[in-house]
């Protein structure tokens, strides 16, 4: 039984607010770049960069990061995770990276993303923006920018559906 938590309009308003928060905290977009974590984070990063462009008038670099090789559960999974594109077509040195993901849960994906990013370069700093924080952290990881906090039970499943994947924008829980 799945319940809709956020509609298309909700998501859009949240992203607009997050874009403002990101530019506010960083006092503009100097040296700023967005790196989305495959798959959900990549679409959100692109959307955020569009909104930031509307606010600040300039484009900031956007990249995508696949964390399949850095996961900590590769030896216990039944099958290896699908490998997707990692594209960071700019130098990371001196850059403030904002990692973008759809759902923050145990924090293990973010830990993997940090390792993956560090193997690509040495950014000046890394911040984290997530659409949904559903609690249940298993590692000391915290998001700098949160779209919505949603308390959940461990065995519930929060899904972020995005138009770019061919399904209507919405966030559901079951």
């Amino acid at each position: 039984m799945s319940k809709e938590l956020l509609t298309k309009k909700d998501i859009d308003r949240i992203l607009a607010r997050m874009a403002h928060e990101i530019t506010e905290k960083n006092k503009g977009i100097g040296n700023l770049c967005l790196v989305g974590i495959q798959r959900g984070g990549v679409h959100l990063a692109k959307r955020l960069s569009k909104k930031i462009r509307e606010i600040e008038g300039t484009n900031i670099p956007v990249g995508s990061l696949d964390i399949a090789f850095y996961r900590d559960d590769l030896s216990i999974r039944k099958e290896q995770p699908e490998v997707r594109k990692t594209e960071v077509p700019f130098e990371l040195i001196d850059k403030k990276v904002v990692l973008v993901d759809d759902v923050l849960f145990t924090g293990r994906s973010i830990r993997a993303a940090l390792d993956a990013l560090m193997d690509i370069g040495r950014p000046k700093s890394i911040q984290l923006a997530v659409l949904i924080d559903r609690g249940h952290r298993e590692l000391p990881i915290k998001a700098d920018f949160v779209g919505k906090n949603i308390p959940t039970a461990f065995n519930e499943n929060v899904e972020v559906c995005l138009e770019e994947e061919g399904i209507e924008d919405k966030v559901t829980i079951e």
Binding site: A68, F69, Y70, L74, T86, D115, D119
Partner: protein
């Protein structure tokens, strides 16, 4: 998606979907190889043992490097410097190696079927790096990756494989893979090395290279195995290169964008002219780079012993 077997023994045993999965995964690894830090922790803590009972430059170093790039611990055994010389058999060697904790065993052996025998006797993931005259699956996979990268597809392409088909495990693996993906495969060479009976596999045999090459999109040259000289397969290497050697004139009969491939090592001046091997249509060195990514993909997807 995953591979259905714990081993990679041959192209024969792989489905189209599995082959596509390997090739797609290999793209991801090719990106890793372009970075400063060409290493991922994916298989950290696991161990790979390379058991090479036949000499090898490319395949052995390619596997060793692919293993290191995946953060595996690597051991290499060459038969001539191991107890195989004292008469220790294949299965005993493998069981001893497994007792040391091998998760992957990569084997090249002169007997067809050796990897298959091995896979039944060990829990490790067995990868066939070339067995007798049977198969060399990772070569066919990297060849397919190269073709897809350069031309964009395999289906409908005219692909010529030239040389000693009879004794070539590279040719066999390629024939299985390319026909699975709908390419038109042509085999070219002397009647002694390319028997007409092979047409029962659904491919065309040409003993005349000029007609065989007309309009092909890919020319895959095979090494003339000098060890077989003097056994009557052809009068001399000079004769061979006159009739079946790839030179610029013959290459111009192929499609204007045709690519030239060779699994290596090359006999320059015999099956392939230096001008062609080093020319703009040659993708021979790219095959080597792609081999690294493809082998990483295979090991990543197999994941090691379960």
């Amino acid at each position: 998606m995953k591979l259905s077997s714990k081993d990679l023994l041959g192209i024969k045993e792989l489905s189209e979907d599995e082959i596509s999965l390997i090739l797609d995964t290999a793209s991801g690894f090719k990106d890793v190889l372009k970075r400063d830090i060409k290493k991922v922790p994916a298989l950290r803590g696991k161990t790979a043992v390379n058991l090479f009972f036949e000499p090898s430059t490319r395949t052995k170093t390619s596997f060793e490097l692919a293993e290191k790039r995946l953060s595996l611990d690597v051991l290499s055994l060459t038969a001539t410097t191991s107890s195989v010389v004292k008469g220790e058999g294949l299965i005993d060697t493998a069981l001893n190696v497994q007792a040391l904790g091998a998760d992957f065993m990569i084997i090249r052996h002169s007997s067809s079927g050796a990897p298959h025998l091995l896979s039944k006797n060990v829990n490790a993931s067995v990868i066939n790096a070339g067995d007798g005259i049977n198969e060399h699956p990772t070569q066919a996979l990297l060849d397919a990756f190269t073709i897809k990268e350069k031309i964009g597809k395999i289906e409908g392409l005219k692909i010529a494989i030239v040389g000693d088909i009879l004794h070539s495990r590279v040719a066999k693996s390629n024939i299985y893979l390319l026909t699975k993906f709908g390419a038109e495969v042509r085999l070219i060479g002397p009647p002694t090395l390319v028997p007409v009976e092979l047409e029962s596999l659904g491919i065309k045999v040409f003993h005349d290279m000029d007609s065989g090459l007309k309009g092909v999109n890919v020319v895959m040259m095979l090494r003339i195995q000098m060890e077989r000289q003097g056994k009557g397969f052809f009068p001399s290497t000079f004769e061979y290169s006159r009739f079946w050697g790839l030179n610029p004139e013959r290459l111009s009969l192929a499609d204007k964008d045709a690519i030239v491939m060779h699994p290596g090592p090359m006999n320059r001046g015999i099956e392939i002219a230096s001008e062609v091997a080093d020319g703009s249509r040659s993708v021979i060195l790219e095959q080597v780079t792609n081999g690294l990514a493809v082998r990483m993909a295979v090991m990543y997807l197999l994941g090691g012993a379960r």
